[in-house]
């Protein structure tokens, strides 16, 4: 609430700054506004930038770093015994202090020490909040004053504004790089912590996955084994089933649509296929778990074959349906990029349409189609919700599609949803799996994009 008012005030100040700057510019131009270096509104924006940007930057920095700073201060004020607690206990204590300060329910008895800490916390937050409001508003007003003072007919307001704008544009375009760096660093950092607990050799080549770490020495079934091979095998199996569905259906429908179908059929069927692309994956997951998996189980029972209700087949089939539009739209693009002259040459030699497609167009389009399929595989590997809802949790190392397998993404979700503690191998394992996932998909994507790019250049 406080923040909303502050933002509104800042916005109003910025607007006031704009108007002050503009009228100031007009009034300084004694010999008519034609003698100003820039249009009057640029002077307005100049003052508004001085008012809003420094104050806004301070506000954002404060919002980002306030929790850590307050926490450090509160911890520093705690008695010695509390400060040396292990990290997770300290977190609990801090949480209680926070709750006590805002008047929520606290999970332990309140002793005077804690009450003091909570008061300390509340007072730091109050002071910090007041100081921040003061600093932000002072900066805004000072910015207006400074900007207004700088206005003269010679001030190159437009150039200045354009420079600021360019900095903003460049800043925005580096977000993409920052994101990649952020992904790699955060995954790498947590994975390194994981590899201090579990050796990379065991992680990469171990054949057993059972991430429940034992709380007691003699606990049964909680061995804490982190071999990722069964997960990768399960992922590969489900992705393979998905591709067995998606590639023939997607490719053949793309061929039919681009080479055979009348434009009326095309304009009716294409949106239908695009619907498949727009359906959220959680819907596919529900469909797989509710309709497809029971159907397979029942029909298995009918023939006396035991099909698990979380079989790889159900998940893979539905994932394949999800990928059909992806394969078909890429194949469509690629096939229509094949030059018309190839088609005409083949037809002119007396080949039938299907012979032309099979012997001329498909070979010519093959690199592009392969690239598209690689992208589709990468999507299948990274797909989460369908397998979370329809595939199993137990890590079976099997190639039988009728059994339940688990995948990398399923394990990431199960390890991270629910209570987490950030020093256990169990939680950190999710980040190591994420790193593996990121690199596999990255390699597939780079390979696919370079294949497609080369193919495009060939016919341009």
């Amino acid at each position: 609430m406080q923040l909303t008012i502050l933002l509104a005030t800042l916005l109003i100040l910025t607007v006031i700054g704009f108007h002050m700057g503009r009228s100031r510019a007009v009034s300084t131009a004694v010999s008519g506004i034609g003698h100003l270096n820039s249009l009057p509104s640029y002077y307005g924006i100049y003052v508004a930038v001085w008012c809003g940007v420094p104050a806004g930057v301070v506000l954002i920095l404060w919002l980002l770093f306030e929790p850590q700073v307050v926490e450090t201060l509160v911890v520093a004020g705690l008695p010695e015994a509390a400060r040396t607690l292990p990290e997770n206990k300290l977190d609990l204590l801090l949480n209680d202090i926070r709750n006590l300060a805002v008047g929520n329910i606290v999970s332990r008895d309140v002793d005077p020490e804690m009450q003091r800490a909570a008061d300390h916390y509340a007072s730091i937050r109050r002071m910090g909040g007041a100081a921040m409001i003061g600093v932000v508003l002072a900066l805004a007003v000072a910015g207006i004053g400074f900007g207004r003072k700088a206005i003269s007919p010679e001030l190159r307001a437009r150039t200045r504004i354009e420079n600021v704008l360019m900095v903003f544009l460049i800043g925005c375009s580096t977000i993409a790089i920052l994101t990649t760096v952020g992904i790699v660093l955060s995954l790498l950092f947590e994975s390194l912590r994981f590899f201090q607990l579990v050796s990379p050799v065991e992680f990469l080549f171990g054949l057993e996955w059972s991430p429940q770490t034992a709380l007691r020495e003699d606990q049964v079934g909680s061995s804490g084994l982190f071999g990722s091979v069964p997960l990768l095998a399960g992922t590969a199996l489900i992705s393979f089933i998905a591709m067995c569905v998606a590639v023939p259906v997607g490719l053949l429908s793309a061929i039919y649509m681009s080479e055979y179908a009348a434009s009326k059929v095309r304009s009716a069927v294409k949106p239908l296929l695009e619907i498949l692309a727009g359906i959220p994956t959680v819907v596919y997951g529900f469909f797989a778990a509710l309709t497809v998996a029971p159907f397979f189980r029942e029909s298995g029972n009918l023939f006396g074959i035991g099909i698990s209700s979380e079989s790889a087949l159900a998940g893979g089939l539905v994932m394949g349906i999800m990928i059909i539009p992806f394969v078909s739209s890429i194949s469509d693009d690629v096939i229509s990029a094949v030059p018309q002259s190839l088609r005409e040459g083949s037809l002119g030699l007396g080949a039938t349409k299907s012979e032309t497609i099979r012997r001329v167009i498909l070979p010519a389009a093959l690199p592009g189609i392969v690239g598209g399929i690689l992208l589709a595989v990468s999507r299948a590997i990274g797909e989460t919700m369908i397998v979370v809802m329809a595939a199993g949790l137990a890590a079976n190392l099997t190639a039988n599609p009728l059994e339940a397998v688990t995948t990398v993404t399923v394990q990431i979700v199960t390890l991270l949803v629910g209570d987490q503690e950030f020093d256990s191998a169990k939680t950190l394992a999710a980040f190591a799996l994420g790193l593996v996932l990121f690199f596999i998909t990255l390699i597939l994507n780079v390979a696919a994009l370079s294949v497609v790019k080369k193919y495009r250049e060939q016919y341009e």
Partner: protein, 435 residues
């Protein structure tokens, strides 16, 4: 020469060979065509199956079974001292009143176990409804009123036909006795289905008949607001920079490679990023729409950038040159002329990106938007959930009635997606300029 001429068949022979193979080739042609048609038919059949299975399971959610009971709003149970104070009224024993009304209605039920079953016919929501009625009009106290109250989820499922009546008693969640009571109510005209307001106005609940999607809708709206506020300006700025101003060098190549890769990174990885950076490093609140918005913004950014660049390239260079000719600076040419012309294309891309963000689940699971939350979120930092996560949560619940809720939530989600994609198509058709 002579060798060649002896081996070359005479023209008549060639046409004979071709004619002989023709039938086979035409058959192959027909087969190939049939394969194509079959592929399309399979895809379309899947669409039909998906929609019919979801609509078939979910359409009944729009109504909720209610029963008419005569409830004695006795002052003893609600307000024994006659203070008419709202806090006292809110604490009254309304569940007891509902139970009493049921026992009165079926006076022949004597055994304790049967009585408990009888009480189970009414939903917990029945007592909430009574309480709200009394709070709205305290004069009702002491009166005997006839009200429509919601029935429990199992009874509702039976009336809607999702629980088969004729299977053995052991294999369904509702006993023969309960069915008999419900039939008696129905015969007396005291059982009817009414429009299910609760589903569209309340938050999540452990009781299927009380669970609604409004909390998830609000959570989705808040999350998407953050997403669009962050992703659209920065996406447009990036597109403008790369397309209009950026020099061709290593740095811009690197940016482009990054954007293309990010577009294909699995969404769950963005969730891991959000967990490690926003929650653990910056200490942002768990389950909050603001963090969800951040993660989804990063995820949709590539879509918006790519669509934006396509929109910018489709504006012909003559527009820029005309602006330069009239004395505009490059920045002015772009921001006064090119960008407004490219805006419809950019908005279309943004809407499609938002539609994708609306349907995204996995990254939000990572940042804790998967908690059970009853309250409707009121701000960007309140714990909340979103529509697809609500679907996931309900799909995990074992009660049959939640299956109906899940399908209904999916229908609502798909309705939003259809509206958004429709808006994108409309924008494209309406503002598309052919240069």
């Amino acid at each position: 020469m002579t060798e060649l001429s002896t081996n070359t068949p005479k023209p008549r022979d060639v046409s004979a060979i071709v004619t002989a193979g023709l039938a086979k080739r035409y058959a192959a042609e027909r087969r190939f065509r049939a394969f194509g048609i079959a592929a399309i038919a399979i895809a379309v059949a899947f669409v039909a199956l998906l929609f019919s299975s979801i609509i078939g399971n979910g359409y009944t959610v729009f109504v909720q079974t209610h029963m008419r009971l005569d409830v004695e709003l006795s002052a003893d149970a609600i307000d024994p001292k006659g203070t008419r104070d709202a806090t006292v009224l809110a604490r009254g024993d309304y569940a007891g009143l509902v139970k009493g009304a049921l026992r009165e209605r079926f006076a022949d039920v004597k055994k304790r176990r049967d009585k408990r079953k009888l009480h189970g016919l009414a939903s917990q929501g029945a007592s909430y409804d009574l309480r709200n009625m009394v709070l709205a009009d305290p004069n009702l106290i002491g009166q005997r009123i006839s009200v429509w109250l919601p029935v429990s989820d199992d009874a509702d499922m039976l009336i809607k036909g999702h629980i088969p009546r004729h299977t053995g008693e052991g294999s369904r969640r509702i006993s023969d006795k309960e069915i008999a009571w419900l039939d008696a109510l129905a015969e007396a005209g005291d059982l009817e289905t009414q429009f299910n307001v609760r589903f569209f106005t309340s938050g999540d609940s452990r009781e299927p008949e009380l669970a609604g999607i409004w909390g998830a809708v609000v959570g989705s709206a808040l999350t998407l607001l953050v997403t669009i506020a962050l992703a659209f300006p920065s996406g447009v700025a990036t597109a403008v920079y790369l397309e209009e101003f950026a020099p061709r060098n290593r740095w811009t190549d690197l940016i482009e490679v990054n954007i293309n890769n990010l577009a294909a990174v699995p969404s769950i990885v963005f969730g891991l990023l959000g967990l490690a950076v926003f929650l653990n490093f910056f200490g942002m609140p768990r389950s909050a729409p603001v963090v969800g918005g951040f993660v989804l913004a990063i995820m949709t950014l590539p879509t918006i950038i790519i669509a934006g660049r396509v929109a910018l390239t489709s504006v012909p260079p003559s527009v820029r040159e005309a602006a330069y000719g009239l004395g505009a600076s490059p920045v002015q040419a772009v921001f006064h002329h090119v960008l407004p012309l490219a805006m419809p294309g950019m908005l279309t891309g943004a809407i499609i990106g938002m539609a994708r963000a609306l349907g995204e689940t996995a990254p939000l699971l990572m940042i804790g938007m998967v908690a059970f939350i009853v309250d409707i979120p009121g701000s960007f930092t309140d714990p909340s959930t979103v529509l697809p996560v609500q679907v996931y949560l309900w799909a995990d619940s074992p009660e049959r009635a939640f299956m109906e809720k899940t399908s209904a939530a999916i229908m609502v989600l798909l309705a939003f997606l259809i509206v958004m994609n429709g808006a994108a198509v409309y924008l494209r058709k309406k503002f598309e300029v052919r240069w």
